[in-house]
């Protein structure tokens, strides 16, 4: 079969290729949900509400970027919510104690990054399962958070820490700086994952770690960089959380970690690693946010939100499993 024949075969089947695009399914789900809630309520499609949906998704959306990178390497992160909460408490307490806000924020980012680094060292050097490493880290981070918080919460009055919650208006739509930070991070990590050799290596490691090693990819260094970078993103997630709710509370963000996994999985990234896309994760994040927001607006009991999200996650994983079986 010649290459030109293959090329024509490719171009004639635009629809087929569109459907084969991994983000196509999640996008349809998002559109259907938006349509349903627009019809069911008068308030959902209002610009103010749509802006709120995105504001509500910036924290999980940012944690989910790190989660996507880690899941692409066939790992998982159960500590990202915990690390972000620690970041908020550290920055919040330091500023309350009259420390320099810039240094406080940088310190929080550094600590979050170093927890990512720790996870990366344990996963890449000691070859421990990411599930166990991050589960253990979650316990450690949660304990440290309680020690630092000493039973209290820290109201954020500093302009720098709450800057991500500041908004400006474009037409009727209110846009926060947090949204822009999240979007820039998505573009940056999309670029790294799809346009650089580093990204190819991340996919290859998740696909076939042994093959990646045999072709000369420095697997340990790549894994270490993924977990460390994810840690930095969780620190930025902490900053976004302080902007969203200007109160550093050790009991906040309880569902953020599972929501980040949910977003990745609904977005079409395989839990087995090596396949998926970052834009899918953004769509997955928005699906979860739309669902929670829409169900609240329709006046349905909040417990149904978790139930529907749970069904979505299981369906997404089942679909992934099924499509993999079909390919074998």
């Amino acid at each position: 079969m010649s290459s030109s024949l293959a090329a024509t075969k490719r171009s004639t089947n635009v629809l087929g290729r569109l459907i084969a695009t991994p983000t196509f399914g999640p996008l349809i789900v998002l559109i259907v949900f938006c349509a349903v809630f627009s019809l069911a309520t008068k308030t959902f499609f209002a610009t103010g509400n749509l802006s709120l949906v995105v504001q509500q998704s910036v924290i999980v959306g940012t944690l989910a970027i790190g989660q996507t990178m880690i899941i692409l390497t066939a790992g998982i992160d159960l500590a990202n919510g915990g690390i972000a909460v620690l970041g908020t408490i550290l920055a919040g307490r330091l500023v309350v104690e009259q420390q320099n806000p810039v240094l406080s924020l940088l310190f929080a980012l550094l600590i979050c990054t170093s927890f990512g680094l720790t996870a990366g060292l344990l996963v890449s050097r000691l070859m421990l399962p990411p599930f166990i490493v991050t589960l253990g880290l979650l316990g450690i981070v949660t304990a440290i958070t309680r020690l630092v918080a000493q039973g209290g919460a820290f109201p954020v009055t500093d302009d720098l820490l709450s800057w991500t919650g500041n908004a400006f208006a474009v037409g009727d739509t209110s846009i926060t700086y947090g949204m822009i930070v999240m979007f820039v991070l998505y573009v940056l990590v999309w670029y790294l994952l799809t346009q650089t050799a580093w990204g190819r290596h991340v996919y290859a490691i998740g696909n076939n770690r042994e093959a990646a090693r045999l072709v000369g990819i420095p697997v340990q260094a790549r894994l270490l960089s993924v977990y460390t970078f994810a840690g930095l993103l969780y620190g930025i997630g902490a900053w976004l959380a302080l902007g969203r709710i200007p109160n550093a509370d050790p009991n906040a963000l309880q569902s953020a970690n599972l929501d980040s996994i949910t977003a990745v999985v609904i977005g079409g990234t395989s839990l087995f690693g090596g396949r998926g896309s970052l834009w899918g994760t953004l769509i997955g994040t928005l699906i979860v946010a739309v669902l929670r927001n829409g169900l609240t607006l329709t006046g349905i009991d909040p417990l149904w939100q978790d139930l529907v999200t749970g069904i979505l996650v299981i369906s997404a994983v089942a679909l992934d499993q099924f499509s993999r079986k079909k390919q074998r």
């Binding site: 050799a197 076939n208 990646a212």
Partner: protein, 273 residues
């Protein structure tokens, strides 16, 4: 089209020794896997290495591709001693290895797999500052190399998991052929494949040899060995028991030497190979 990936060094004339192993010994505790084993690979040939399980062929190959450091003996490339600490050292000197278990990333496309670990970046600031991959150039060069190797595949940007087993192994073999400067080592490349698929890979081995790269082929499969090998090295008890050709000995004679039923150093009368 000239490509900077396939710029080969001038290959030595046919028949000169490219790679040599002299008295290579490797012990694992009380087990002597290699006992003063030798090997000579000449330019322009396919040298098959055969032997029973435990005869030392795998260990010998691991020494040659840098995966195992021998206790004694030396390896010479173009007559100069070389010391491989890892497969990366061997690769830097132009020795590429193909492994039996299809070493590809299934969800990634053919071009990406061919350039995996050796990606091409854009020239200029886009490449050096922004590390931007030159995907078009990689696709173009991948297509060019596959055409050169006369190995037919679906579109170069289709995922490797959509290919047959033979085509997947073809991708792994092509990757070695593209980047090897001195020689290619293949460890049981047809072990996981069916009859027709093995044929595709054997063709590829011949094409690589005809392009000038010598090949060391480790195989259990006697018909495959007799189909492509120019010379056959028979391993027994950690040593080179004999070197022959498909013309001099029959399959059953080779098996007899392998198992110790016949001695390799006595010329056995050939009756068609």
């Amino acid at each position: 089209m000239t490509t900077d990936v396939s710029t080969k060094v001038t290959l030595p004339p046919k028949g000169t020794v490219v790679l040599e192993a002299r008295g290579v010994t490797k012990r694992y505790g009380h087990v002597t896997a290699l006992d003063h084993a030798d090997l000579d690979l000449k330019a322009g040939e396919v040298l098959a290495v055969v032997g029973d399980n435990g005869a030392g062929k795998s260990t010998l190959i691991k020494v040659l591709c840098g995966a195992v450091v021998p206790d004694e003996g030396e390896v010479l490339l173009d007559g100069k001693p070389v010391h491989f600490r890892s497969p990366l050292d061997a690769r830097k000197l132009g020795i590429e290895t193909v492994y039996q278990d299809l070493a590809v990333a299934p969800a990634l496309d053919i071009a990406t797999n061919l350039f995996l670990g050796r990606e091409l970046r854009h020239q200029g600031p886009l490449g050096t500052w922004f590390r931007l991959l030159d995907k078009n150039r990689m696709r173009r060069e991948a297509q060019h190399e596959m055409d050169e190797l006369k190995f037919h595949l679906p579109a170069i940007d289709s995922a490797v998991e959509k290919l047959s087993g033979g085509q997947r192994q073809g991708v792994a073999v092509a990757r070695a052929a593209i980047f090897a400067r001195r020689l290619v080592i293949m460890d049981e490349p047809t072990a996981a494949l069916g009859v027709r698929e093995s044929g595709q890979v054997l063709n590829l081995i011949r094409t690589i040899r005809d392009r000038g790269l010598p090949v060391i082929l480790i195989s259990h499969d006697m018909p495959h060995v007799f189909e492509v090998a120019d010379r056959i090295q028979i391993m027994r008890l950690g040593r080179r028991a004999a070197v022959t050709t498909p013309q001099k000995h029959t399959m059953s004679q080779v098996v007899a030497i392998m198992t110790g039923a016949a001695r390799g150093d006595e010329p056995v009368e050939a009756n068609g190979g």
